[in-house]
């Protein structure tokens, strides 16, 4: 399957009545975005209003609480559309051509639950830890309708859809723009691949998805992934939004939709594809709470690795705590099939760095990449402008009593920063 991505560089975002991309500037009409979001009945029912803002790299701006980050894309050739099964109809994506508005993102923010977390600082020390400080962010702040308190499931769904719709609307602006740069991605069928690269090790990406409940879910082609069995994806499907995030907890190590669209493991494996390895496919597997599910899903990961005659696999994780058990189960079982693994995780080693980092361990997991210790404490200076609200900073993960100081600085653990210790290996942060 072959996909061409056409990158349209966005260096600035301006509000305007006319929607267009010109000289790497996105001109967009917030009212038109709003109208497009409200075309969805659930959004209409549960979101009272939206406000819009733009946050640019280097500005003294803090966005919080962040729900999701989404990169606008549009499918210009080939079957299906972006976010299949959610925004577009169900159709296998991942082939043809897709335009990407690179250098920007749609960020959804606003309260859902009282301990909503996720901070993006556009400058200062916090900016070093989140990849989203380097983007021009079109921020959508949602305000819930009356009575949402008793309908959190519906409201979370509405905000999730609203964000995807905003990204879809903006992606559409790039449909007829000539990309600044194009890049092709192709993986081969099993037999073709063996014939073309007879001497290269066969490698797959075992991609673990957070699937536990409200604010902890991931959707694949619109299906709640906790109700799925471990299965196979073409890596290019992820680039068209086959996987979207419904995960709002543990800001530092949740995978936003932006991460899924720009999966760094997919990118790194494609970079090595045909050179040092033969990139076969992605294997997606879930992280359920029910132990028999963990058992079954990890059995299937190992089984598929064996069936595909792999030599190696990279396993990535999402979230805190019990996924450590899935990670170790997957790794151990895959290694026992004779398939060599490297795994990507992050650590909760305590504020002093002295505690055991993971909730599970096995000697077979001998090649580990870490996204850093999420408990490490950081001081975030006051920002001139807050998009969203600081109301929750005192309650969010890693914040501890008094985490919001009277002078506006925040003392908290890295946990609070969106994407800080990403377990797909999106960042340079590590620990020893």
């Amino acid at each position: 399957m072959k996909l061409e991505l056409g990158y349209i560089q966005i260096n600035d975002i301006q509000f305007s009545k006319e929607c267009k991309v010109e000289n790497s500037t996105l001109f967009v009409d917030p009212d038109a975005v709003k109208a497009f979001m409200y075309e969805d009945d659930d959004v209409k029912a549960w979101v009272k209003d939206f406000s819009f803002d733009v946050a640019k790299p280097g500005e003294s701006v803090r966005i919080t609480p962040v729900k999701d980050v989404i990169e606008p894309r549009v499918k210009v050739e080939g079957p299906g559309g972006v976010f299949p099964g959610v925004i577009s109809k169900v159709d296998t994506v991942g082939s043809g051509k897709t335009h990407v508005l690179r250098g920007m993102a749609v960020v959804t923010a606003g309260k859902i639950v009282g301990f909503q977390e996720g901070i993006i600082d556009m400058s200062g020390p916090g900016a070093d830890y989140t990849p989203f400080s380097k983007l021009n962010n079109f921020v959508v702040v949602a305000e819930p309708a009356e009575g949402y308190q008793d309908h959190k499931h519906e409201y979370e769904h509405a905000v999730r859809i609203a964000g995807l719709r905003a990204a879809t609307f903006i992606g559409e602006i790039g449909r007829n723009v000539t990309p600044d740069e194009t890049q092709e991605f192709e993986t081969l069928g099993i037999k073709e691949g063996i014939e073309k690269y007879p001497d290269l090790p066969r490698v797959a990406y075992v991609h673990m998805l957070q699937t536990q409940g409200l604010l902890h879910d991931t959707y694949v082609y619109g299906v709640d992934a906790k109700r799925t069995l471990t299965t196979i994806l073409n890596p290019t499907e992820t680039m068209d939004g086959a996987i979207i995030s419904g995960n709002c907890v543990s800001a530092c190590d949740k995978n936003t939709t932006y991460h899924h669209l720009n999966n760094p493991v997919v990118k790194a494996l494609f970079a090595a594809h045909g050179k040092t390895l033969n990139y076969v496919c992605n294997i997606i597997t879930n992280e359920n709470v029910y132990l028999a599910d963990k058992q079954r899903s990890s059995d299937w990961s190992a089984k598929l690795c064996r069936l595909l005659d792999l030599d190696g696999a990279i396993v990535s994780q999402e979230g805190f705590g019990n996924p450590d058990t899935d990670l170790i189960m997957n790794t151990k079982k895959i290694e026992l099939q004779g398939v060599k693994t490297t795994i990507i995780t992050d650590e909760y080693a305590g504020q002093d760095g002295k505690s055991q980092s993971l909730a599970d361990a096995d000697p077979l997991a001998d090649a580990v990449v870490t996204g850093g210790n999420a408990n490490e404490v950081i001081i975030l200076p006051k920002m001139d402008k807050v998009i969203g609200t600081l109301d929750y900073v005192d309650v969010i993960a890693g914040g501890h009593a008094g985490s919001l100081r009277p002078d506006g600085t925040i003392e908290a653990e890295l946990q609070v920063i969106t994407g800080a210790t990403n377990e797909m290996g999106f960042n340079c942060l590590s620990a020893r």
Partner: protein
């Protein structure tokens, strides 16, 4: 690690009132409600059940909300012992280890935040056993 589990064998150990109000009497499971117990104490109860040979059905560290944030925890073990399992014991002991490494939180939560924490714990439990969380909420006692 054993068994898919018959709902009749589910013993839900919880300190979350929302689990009781949404799930009590709506399935074959049994709910043991311990409102006075802490998150950690629920884990310890589950661990002692596991040490006594009960099957552990759900992972004690369900969810990404940190143990020093949410006061609520629900864990499902078997009603009756089916034999000691080393793996369950290790999961329990690791979970308590994880709980202990977080800086204790002394913050006072508002009722709304407490209810949100209850909701998350409840939906994680629902997600684990395929209980319709939304239906449970709309039929809340």
């Amino acid at each position: 690690m054993s068994t898919i589990g018959n709902p009749r064998d589910f013993l839900i150990l919880t300190n979350n009132p929302l689990v009781v109000s949404c799930m009590e009497g709506r399935g074959l499971y049994t709910i043991e409600f311990h409102p006075e117990k802490s998150y950690r104490e629920i884990l310890v109860m589950a661990r002692d059940k596991v040490y006594g040979g009960h099957t552990l059905y759900t992972h004690p560290l369900s969810g990404s909300v940190k143990p020093n944030e949410t006061p609520y925890k629900s864990v499902i073990v078997s009603m009756v012992p089916h034999g000691f399992d080393q793996q369950f014991a290790e999961i329990m002991s690791n979970a308590i280890g994880v709980c202990d490494k977080f800086v204790p939180c002394t913050r006072q939560y508002t009722q709304q935040v407490l209810e949100d924490f209850q909701l998350i714990d409840y939906t994680l439990l629902c997600g684990a056993i395929g209980f319709d969380a939304v239906a449970g909420l709309s039929n809340k006692k």
